[in-house]
């Protein structure tokens, strides 16, 4: 990994059109500004990891239960808005 030191207000260019700027730093962390082309997805790493993790939980969450029974419970709890 390339490691660079930056102070608040200083930037790093990556390739064409991507600029990372350190806006401010304090004891809680750093605020980072990112300029990137619209075609480049930008998100915090933990958001992707949370979605991976939640997808795995979601896929197994019906368990032995019958979806018809589960759906019946939800229809009773909350009138359908369809």
């Amino acid at each position: 990994m390339l490691v660079l030191s930056r102070k608040a207000g200083e930037s790093i260019h990556i390739g064409e059109g991507i600029v990372i700027t350190v806006l401010e730093t304090d004891a809680r962390g750093a605020r980072i500004g990112i300029t990137a082309p619209q075609s480049v997805p930008v998100y915090r790493s933990e958001v992707y990891e949370r979605i991976q993790d939640e997808n795995r939980k979601a896929s197994a969450s019906t368990g032995e239960r019958n979806l018809g029974d589960i759906a019946g419970f939800f229809r009773q709890a909350r009138p359908a808005q369809e």
């Binding site: 979605i51 979601a58 018809g68 759906a71 419970f73 229809r75 909350r78």
Partner: protein, 134 residues
């Protein structure tokens, strides 16, 4: 669900990159049955044990308005907003009333091209575990 999936080839929805955590699972069929409303079942055609339960998030959170990066819509080749379906994945809790849906990873499906994508949204208004019932 029955153990033999019943579908026609044209029913298949392709997720070119799979889903986060299931990158190899690309071909799914969605079953929408009256007795399963408000849920839908999305089953993998190659591994029928791999199923996701979907709900349209607008059914429980009318104000849901994710900011979708424009290039994501281009990837889905959307020509008309009406050809786009929106779902979220449901995680049923042991106590059903605690069940949640993932509002940071909405699923978009273009019904014309039958291409699907789970879009990662970094939006502090929403979470991966949003309660379906209040």
């Amino acid at each position: 669900m029955s153990h033999i999936l019943d579908y026609r080839p044209e029913d298949i929805i392709t997720f070119p990159k799979g889903l986060p955590g299931f990158e190899q699972a690309r071909e799914f069929v969605i079953y929408s049955r009256a007795e399963h409303a408000p849920f839908h079942c999305m089953a993998n055609v190659h591994d029928q044990d791999l199923q996701f339960i979907l709900i349209n998030p607008l059914q429980f959170q009318e104000s849901y308005d994710p900011r979708i990066p424009p290039h994501e819509l281009r990837e889905l080749d959307v020509k008309d907003p009406r050809e786009l379906l929106l779902y979220t994945l449901v995680t049923f809790a042991p106590e059903l009333s605690d069940s949640t849906a993932n509002l940071l990873g909405p699923i978009f499906i273009n019904i014309r091209t039958r291409i699907g994508k789970q879009i990662v949204i970094d939006d502090e208004r929403y979470s991966v575990r949003e309660r379906i019932l209040r």
